[in-house]
C-alpha cells in the first residue's frame, strides 16, 4: 500500500519555468512533511519541510503549499534552473502503525532545459 502518492513521475520545464510536484497522503497521523532533492549517485538532501498547521512555506526559490483538509501538499520551484535537474521526493513523518518513520513518495524526475 502506497501511503504517500506522488505525481508526476517525470517533468520537463524550460529554464525560468515553475515546476509543480504534487503529493497526497491518507494517514492522519503524519505530522511533518519534508521534501528531498536527490542527484544521481548521491543521497537525498533535505530541501524544505512543513507542518500541517501551516498552509505555505517559502525558502529561497522553493515553496511548499499544504492543504490539510484535502491531505495534499505540493512543491513549487520558482525561476527553475538547469542545476535544479534532479529527482525530488516528498515524504511524510508519523506513526504508520508499525513504526514512527519517514514514508517517501515514489519520486519525480525533473529536467530543466535551456
Amino acid at each position: 500500500q502506497q501511503q504517500v502518492k506522488q505525481s508526476p513521475q517525470s517533468l520537463i520545464v524550460q529554464k525560468g519555468g515553475i515546476p509543480i510536484i504534487n503529493c497526497a497522503y491518507e494517514n492522519t497521523a503524519f505530522d511533518y512533511f519534508p521534501w528531498y532533492q536527490q542527484f544521481p549517485g548521491k543521497g537525498p538532501a533535505l530541501l524544505i519541510a512543513i507542518r500541517p498547521d501551516v498552509s505555505e512555506k517559502k525558502e529561497g526559490r522553493f515553496t511548499i503549499s499544504f492543504n490539510k483538509s484535502a491531505k495534499q501538499f505540493s512543491l513549487h520551484i520558482m525561476d527553475s534552473q538547469p542545476g535544479d535537474s534532479a529527482t525530488y521526493f516528498c515524504a511524510a513523518f508519523g506513526n504508520t502503525g508499525t513504526a514512527s518513520k519517514l514514508t517517501f513518495g515514489t519520486g519525480t524526475r525533473l529536467q530543466v532545459t535551456l
Partner: protein
C-alpha cells in the same frame, strides 16, 4: 561541520553471502536510521537506532540487523543475501528528540550477483 558519512561506496557480493555497511552520523546527532532505495524508487525505512538499541523497525526480514556504537556510529548487517537486496543503502542521522528531521549520507551501492 562533518555530514553523514558511509562506507564503503560500492560493494559487490554473491547470493548467500553476508555484508556489513557502516555509517557515521552528522556531528552532534545521536540517532541513526537506515533505508533501502531500489532503483527508481523512494527510500524504504529499515530501522532506527538510538542509545545503542533498535527503536523502530520497518517491514524488513530478520536477515537485516544492525548495531549502534557508543560514539553513535552504526552498522547495517544483511545475511543470506538475495538478488533482490541489490539497492542503494542510505543512512540518515537526526537528534533523538527531532527524528522527523533527517539528514542522509551518500549511500552504499550494493550489488548482489
Amino acid at each position: 561541520d562533518a555530514g553523514v558519512t558511509q562506507s564503503p561506496t560500492h560493494l559487490i557480493k554473491t547470493r548467500g553471502q553476508q555484508v556489513t555497511l557502516r555509517c557515521s552520523p552528522k556531528s552532534g546527532h545521536d540517532t541513526v536510521s537506515w533505508y533501502q532505495q531500489a532503483l527508481g524508487q523512494g527510500p524504504q525505512f529499515i530501522f532506527q537506532y538510538y542509545e545503542e538499541e533498535e527503536r523502530q523497525r520497518g517491514n524488513f526480514p530478520d536477515r537485516f540487523s544492525g548495531h549502534q556504537f557508543p560514539n553513535y556510529s552504526s552498522e547495517l548487517n544483511v545475511n543470506a543475501l538475495l538478488l533482490g537486496d541489490s539497492a542503494l543503502y542510505l543512512c540518515a542521522s537526526s537528534l533523538k528528540g527531532v527524528t522527523n528531521t533527517q539528514y542522509f549520507g551518500p549511500g552504499t551501492r550494493l550489488t548482489v550477483l
